[in-house]
């Protein structure tokens, strides 16, 4: 028991450093995914012709390929081929973010479709342009509705980030594995890693719930 505690105590700072890396990767990917996902959702719902088809293609591509394959494909393939010299961390954020963008677009699309269809038409009837209607009527409501879906996406992304070690990003799992290899205390160490993931999920979901409450419009939706 004493030995296990010593190992855990010594490993904790090293693995916690990995938790920091995990957080940066996940938060970065969440924001990048948001930047990609919202325009995609709008393109899929209101886009016409080729715009819509491009958005569909993007979502189809990134949802259809496992993240591990995408990481390899982009880091060793595409990025290297076009001469883009990215650090493993940047590549991790980019690939996780692009993938998350595909999933986040579906969260936002779902939220847009959940709004009464008449609103968009009413906005146009009032003389707004399509872009104006989307920007000032649809998105403010849809984004608020998307927050519960994001907390789901966050927790999935958090766990997907463990795959990033194939590129050399030493996050929680990779570091836990290193210590376990040296000490052969697999079970306690993986329990420690699980506790860290648990804490991060809890904190992230908590933050999103706080955001949800902060951006709520008083009285909106209460009678709907």
């Amino acid at each position: 028991m004493q030995e296990i505690l010593t190992v855990l105590w010594e490993a904790a700072p090293f693995i916690l450093e990995g938790a920091g890396i995990t957080v940066v990767a996940v938060v970065g990917a969440m924001f990048l995914g948001l930047g990609i996902g919202v325009p995609l959702a709008v393109a899929q719902t209101y886009g016409t012709g080729s715009v819509r088809r491009m958005a569909d293609l993007y979502v189809w591509f990134f949802r259809g390929i496992p993240i591990l394959v995408l990481l390899f494909l982009f880091y060793f393939g595409l990025f290297a081929w076009i001469g883009l010299n990215l650090s493993a961390m940047t590549a991790t954020v980019l690939v996780l973010g692009m993938t998350s963008g595909a999933y986040q677009s579906q969260i936002v699309r779902g939220a847009i479709l959940a709004l009464p269809q008449g609103q968009f038409k009413a906005a146009l009837a009032l003389g707004m342009s399509r872009a104006q209607a989307v920007w000032s009527i649809i998105l403010p409501q849809a984004l608020r509705l998307s927050i519960p879906g994001w907390s789901n996406e966050y927790s999935i992304l958090l766990k997907d980030s463990a795959l990033a070690f194939v590129l050399g990003t030493s996050e929680i799992m990779a570091r836990t594995h290193f210590v376990a290899t040296r000490t052969y205390q697999h079970l306690p160490l993986y329990l420690l890693a699980a506790a860290m993931y648990f804490g991060l999920t809890w904190a992230g979901v908590g933050v999103l719930r706080l955001v949800e409450r902060r951006v709520r419009i008083k009285g909106y939706g209460e009678t709907a």
């Binding site: 390899f72 010299n85 961390m89 590129l167 050399g168 990779a174 040296r182």
Partner: protein, 245 residues
């Protein structure tokens, strides 16, 4: 809020490596391969290969940094110039030599079978019975075993793991009957877990340092460095410190 987003994005793109002012060679290590390469309790890369290369770098006048890399992706990392060399218990094989250039061999290892301490298994039984043998994926010994198994018609099934210590862990829990790996990690496991080395298999393997084929200058420095190291008393010291415990 928007400003925060931009700050995050900016941080990532700036964080990409900048042009080399003073070239630091990056050595990719398999940090799950004690005692040749591992991460010590302070989180620092350590091990026989790390110490040896540090000595050589100092002697030959270049700088080196050790970075843990996933073994499955270590050669793609080298070819994509994410790392500059692999000094981490890599066996010289003809297949790998098609992609990378190897230094002269600096160490030889045998391959061994590991079983539970109280196991009654014998070497001959391993080949004859329908057992499960755990090995690390992507290693030269795993490839040798798979080829030889087909050729000789051995009855066991091979189960592949991310690292040999994971195979050891499954062995201790009784999910596999035998683990097979290079001698040094087996010796490491024998000291830490209730397992024993049963005997050898396969061919003697030679470890070499891998670099990109065009990096002949670095390769020459490493070859010369190892020659110097082997003639130095520090070589015996390293062996005593890491390999003969």
């Amino acid at each position: 809020m928007h400003r925060l987003v931009w700050l995050f994005l900016a941080l990532f793109f700036v964080a990409a490596p900048v042009g080399a002012a003073d070239k630091v060679y990056v050595n990719g290590i398999d940090a799950n391969y004690p005692p040749f390469a591992y991460v010590d309790k302070n989180g620092k890369p350590s091990g026989f290969d790390v110490d040896a290369l540090d000595w050589i770098a100092k002697k030959m006048g270049f700088q080196v940094k050790h970075v843990p890399v996933d073994w499955d992706g270590i050669i793609p990392n080298l070819l994509a110039k994410k790392i500059d060399l692999i000094c981490s218990g890599m066996t010289i094989t003809a297949e790998r030599a098609q992609k990378v250039a190897f230094s002269a061999p600096y160490w030889e290892v045998k391959n061994v079978f590991v079983v539970k301490k109280d196991s009654p298994l014998t070497i001959n039984e391993i080949y004859a019975k329908p057992l499960t043998v755990g090995m690390q994926a992507g290693t030269s010994e795993a490839k040798w075993m798979a080829d030889a198994k087909t050729k000789e018609g051995w009855k066991f099934t091979i189960k592949l793991y991310d690292s040999s210590p994971m195979a050891i862990e499954d062995l201790v829990h009784g999910r596999i009957d035998v683990a097979a790996m290079n001698y040094p990690p087996a010796r490491d496991a024998e000291r830490k877990k209730p397992v024993k080395i049963l005997g050898t298999f396969g061919e003697v393997e030679e470890f070499g340092v891998a670099v990109r084929k065009e990096d002949q200058e670095l390769l020459a420095k490493i070859n010369q460095g190892f020659a110097l190291l082997k003639a130095d008393p520090y070589w015996e010291e390293l062996i005593a410190k890491h390999l003969n415990q």
